[in-house]
Symmetry: C2
Subunit: 247 residues, 2 copies
Amino acid sequence: MIRESILAPFLLSLRARDSVSPEDAARLEALPWRLRDAKADEEFILEGSQTHDSCLVVSGYATRIRHLSDGRRQLTAVHIAGDFVDLHSLHLNRMDHAVTALSSCRLAFVSHSALLDMFEAAPHMALLLWKTTVIDAAIQRAWIVCLGRLSAPKHLAHLLCELCIRLSVIEQTRNGTFDFPVTQQELADMLGLSIVHTNRSLQELRATELVVWNRNRVTIPDFAKLADYAEFDPTYLNLKNIPAGPN
Amino acid sequence: MIRESILAPFLLSLRARDSVSPEDAARLEALPWRLRDAKADEEFILEGSQTHDSCLVVSGYATRIRHLSDGRRQLTAVHIAGDFVDLHSLHLNRMDHAVTALSSCRLAFVSHSALLDMFEAAPHMALLLWKTTVIDAAIQRAWIVCLGRLSAPKHLAHLLCELCIRLSVIEQTRNGTFDFPVTQQELADMLGLSIVHTNRSLQELRATELVVWNRNRVTIPDFAKLADYAEFDPTYLNLKNIPAGPN
DNA sequence: CGAAGGTTTGAAAGGCATCAATTCCTGTGG
DNA sequence: CCACAGGAATTGATGCCTTTCAAACCTTCG
């Protein structure tokens, strides 16, 4: 058995939304990726920095984060294996946010110039990668709706639904169970809540048996029930096959 | 005097972020645009629809909106002249949100196939338009931060800072004054607040003289002061020249 | 002038934040 | 193997921010 491609989760993610020819997969493989590991809590892309490469998550969990003047923080995305975390930096002068490892994770960097070269040689690749940033934006819209109009427990439930689906796409769930290595402080910074209220919201989901959460391991016993509770509609994830209940 | 191009605001918006050659501008002009007017409150792109064209705002104000099961709503973006409102529909199967006119507005539609033809003929045009969707996403991230971590009055102040800058780019501000034709209910649905609290937040900004708001006309007497209050940092708008205080 | 929608105000209730303390883990060193 | 330290999770109490319900006022327009 030859080594698993570092792009395996990325290709799973792409193919869940689009067909990707073997040639196109080869083009992606052929890019001059540079691997690097990051430890948990390491901020590997700084806010305000000007980057010349983009970063794909190979394994582990990462997040986009903005720091406010008073030290408070807001996370604007959770990134899992196969996510091209800062592909948009290709188009931006300065990063408007930082990117941090939630768990230890393996990253693959590729220079902007290599990407541009690929687009020159195969223009349709730009459309393929453009699409990933568009889906990323759709996820952000969903977060806006959750922040604006859902109660804290429902918002948390919605987040778990989203993660469960996204992780099932890259085959990182088993029987509704998946890893989610975050502290409650980090969770609070995703939900825009205090840590205390986050804790109480989580307890409510546990009490109603919508969610089981031990350590960093989350189980959703009845996905349909949780999705209904959270008003979760997976349309925005733009999957070819909407999984009724991911396993 | 020949007619003003329907793309004038779009080109202003593009050129504030990037250089656009006359040839590229001509390519955009040459697209088979179809004009259409929408009345205020008209929902001209439906949630869940599958579209085959994308829509640029020529004049007026539009918004992206998501409806919840209980009738509540959340707006996820405000669109002004020059915004390619649903360019991302080029990549999405179904719209995860609706697009509605906030004021009467003029729209220009172009088919996805015409866009794809243009990309085929001039691949770099894809990068140019990709960039607009990336900036759009950056704005959404800023909304996430505001929703999660700003108090209601500061959030409102931040929104007005953003609008003022974006409108100044398309030359729609004069001495810190601009049109913003929304009801307080619509404002509330942007901020994720109740209409009552939105009203009180607005009154707070008025009382501190950070904002003057009559009818649909907003004036920011001291932009720097408001920006400081709202922790507004324009980096995310990705402008070549950060306007210190837009006029 | 009346109707209708938008804005403003008041009062009461609830959700969420804050402060502070306690308990539970988990990894480390004796 | 057990005690200890430090971070994370949990709990309690209090107060503020925001919502909800209701009503009054204001503006526009047929």
